[in-house]
Amino acid sequence: MVTRDSRGQTILIMAILFAVIVLTTVILLNTLHAPANVQTQSQSSGLEDVELTEAQVANDMERLFLVHTSVATTGEPLPYVEADGGPDSRFGDVVENTSDLDAALRASESGAVVRVRYNATRSQEGMLVRQNDSTREFTYDGYSPSDQNWTVLDDAEGLPRFSMNVTEAPDDSDSPFEVVVDGGNELTFDDDGVEGAGVDCELSYPIQVDATAGIGTISNETEVCGTFDLEPPDSFDLTFENGSEVTGTYTVSGVDADAAGSDIDSNTYDWQHATDDDVIVNPAFDVQYTEPAITHNATIVLYDEGSQ
């Protein structure tokens, strides 16, 4: 029985015990921290920006290269192209000027500093063959009319670009037009469409073919049919067979390739049908991306399989 005299002591003891319980609980709970936020979003957006920037740079440089080498869709030479020095003579300066303008814009938008420089050492030279008159056949003028096969690239070590727009199909009775890569695959164009190199496309003409490093797509104005792979080996010839059966435009470049016929002039600027020897066919660029948390230095070879 608790007497009136001892009630105060009991209350005091209970109060002390209660205080001990509260303090102990506070101490234990204090060691349980809520997890600090991991700033994953801002970090991944930083690297994502690097990826996007690099893709944009590659795209910009490709357009610059196509315009500078005057084989863009218009095919018109620009005033600063020096015909006697080849298409690559002032390309480095053009890249640098473009990079300076681009860097200023980018710095004001995102705070990242991006520099792009033309890398002459890693760029690849070779041969560029092109035709921009859609009414002409896929043959070379210097060959005998009876010769249906034209070795476009001889002893090439790479196929940076291969694009064609075949406007007129071979007749049912004609021999099919074939693009043959020695040691690799071939594309066959007949009145039904295109087949070979991993595709079988029944498409109506005109048919577009666009490939980088031998891998590309086949499409027409309304449909993309599929992806083909010419699988060019380390050294190969590329031949147009029965090119007189079709008409259209094309651009083909080969690394370290030669002109097959001695009668093909090098460095000619006949835009109807030109073959340029010893020109830059696959340019390389150094890209430097800097922001407080990220430093990134890369070399992009424009038409490498992995650089697009």
Partner: protein, 154 residues
Amino acid sequence: MIRSDTRAVSIALNYTIAIGITTILTTGLLISAGTLLESQQERVARLQADEIGGDLLRQADRLDRINESTASSETTVQLEYPSTLLGRSYTVSFQPRADRFDDVEWTLRIDSPELSVESVYPVPERIDVAESSTRGADLQLSQCPNGNITFEGC
């Protein structure tokens, strides 16, 4: 006849019983709360390690993708993670496969001996990493020109 007087005993007994019951209840409460909080601590530490590990693998994957899209590249990214797990230091490392992940070549480990936490994550085969480790504070991830991803710079 002398009557027995139990009043003094009653007071002492009252105290003893009250203090005893309170002590037993308090001790039980503290022990159970301590055990619960300890397991919660470990769970929270693992969750935080999981978040860091998952993000590190995402960053490594992105670095690998950036490298794949170029002829050659070197990238370093400073990562802002908590410098401690529940107030204790921790280490992250790329190490050869662990028993649990014997079908992959490399694993990412986050361990904090003081917390008895060791989280292991498999590194996808296509990502090339080099054996390396660093403490949680000031963590940086580098992708070197040879294609390897490391915590120790190129």
